[in-house]
Symmetry: D2
């Protein structure tokens, strides 16, 4: 399994502050940001549930998208115009009811124009992942000063 490492341009604290400003509607928590991966945790509340008390698919996809965005920014710095171009999610196991979700995101490729990463999503404390995501981000050309 690949384990590429990329030097950090932003640490967890700076990312939290950036996120709070750019995405005030996101209420997750950055657990860790390293050269190889980022971990994000999202408390689950009533609005994220499907019938049966389980977490909805779109809630999982939202968390994965944010976690990968965080991991990307930690390696390229605060480029707010990086946008998702494709996003593929496979739902693997039913999330545990009323349990927070953790996302572990890392980059498979960090190019000049495109970054591709994958995310495993877990119900907190459960070993088997609930979902897997792979997605591409388009990185806008940086202006030279």
């Amino acid at each position: 399994m690949p384990s590429a490492q990329h030097p950090l341009k932003m640490e967890a604290a700076a990312l939290s502050a950036f996120l709070k400003q750019a995405f005030p509607q996101f209420h997750g928590e950055i657990l860790s940001v390293t050269e190889s991966a980022s971990r994000v945790r999202h408390q689950v509340s009533a609005e994220h549930l499907r019938p049966g008390g389980t977490v909805s698919g779109p809630t999982l996809m939202t968390l994965a998208d944010v976690a990968l965005y965080i991991d990307l920014l930690s390696k390229i710095g605060p480029v707010p115009l990086a946008v998702t171009t494709d996003f593929t999610c496979h739902f693997l196991n039913k999330p545990a009811a009323h349990t927070a979700i953790e996302a572990e995101a890392r980059l498979l490729k960090l190019g000049r124009r495109l970054a591709i990463g994958e995310v495993y999503l877990y119900s907190e404390g459960v070993e088997n992942p609930v979902a897997h995501v792979v997605a591409t981000y388009s990185i806008p050309p940086q202006e030279k000063v």
Copy 2:
């Protein structure tokens, strides 16, 4: 382009009622349900926006998931345990700011165990789609009575 038709087991009104009960947090509106496709509209409010006033990717994916679920239920009836197993979204064009999103969903295959469908998402009144989704639903075995 394929244009399969499947007899309706639920009409738009029944689907709206079902949705309101099963997914109270969803605030979209079913525009039409036919044998070949379903159209759903979602008003965009502040919580769905990214910086710049555009609609966020997860908001688009949520709407696509619901629209395809509606189209599926219209053909198989109220089976609440049908679940998404994979979901692939390509983001095509930046959504218009502060404009409602419309989803047009239809099934590419309706099998006994799996249904596969695709969704085009549009900013209301704009010709080019903002996103395309293809996804699979797993249909639980129906108990024979």
Copy 3:
């Protein structure tokens, strides 16, 4: 359903000649190239079959990749360095045994750096598609002369 039209920069005959040179191992036939879509046909021989006489998944994916590449080149001209960056295939119905496959490819987006398209694959003469593909191509920056 979207129906974007893009002016042609290469016609079917020029594309056939280009393909024969760049991909001598491809033995398909371009049926038509228009401003909205391209159709390609691939005769099926023993090497493409799975047990049971049906066409293998990789054979379908190969044809879809070529068909979309042809449709892209017809709109941007002979840029041999355009490369696939992601490729998602859903297998819908078992292909008819010993029957040629037809691909219908069209672009969902033609940007300056990325093009995204979709392909429906059919067993010749059968209405329901056997597979659906959506894929992204990265277009290298063109040198200005």
Copy 4:
């Protein structure tokens, strides 16, 4: 990262024999099959090349499909009717020219009806992967004797 283990129902030698019979056109070599992953190697010859001497995308996808099928069979036994239902490939780095490709495949989920797995593809001896695949297989109901 998940590391699920599943007891083996077929070892590498039996898989090679099965493959030789069911897919005589496949010329790869099974390097290893364990409870957590399978590794397959594919020599690259002229027919698999794109202009520039690099391995074509469809060649990579074919190898990934076979590698995941092998890993699945090693865990469920010789079920020839297991079929791919979706297949998503991200192309990460240009493969090294004239170099064999290795695939490392493992299951993310092994259910009764569906199995989902992922594959990393490498140019032999190169650390960064050239492609990543995630795919679903539908497992036909087993007849009880």
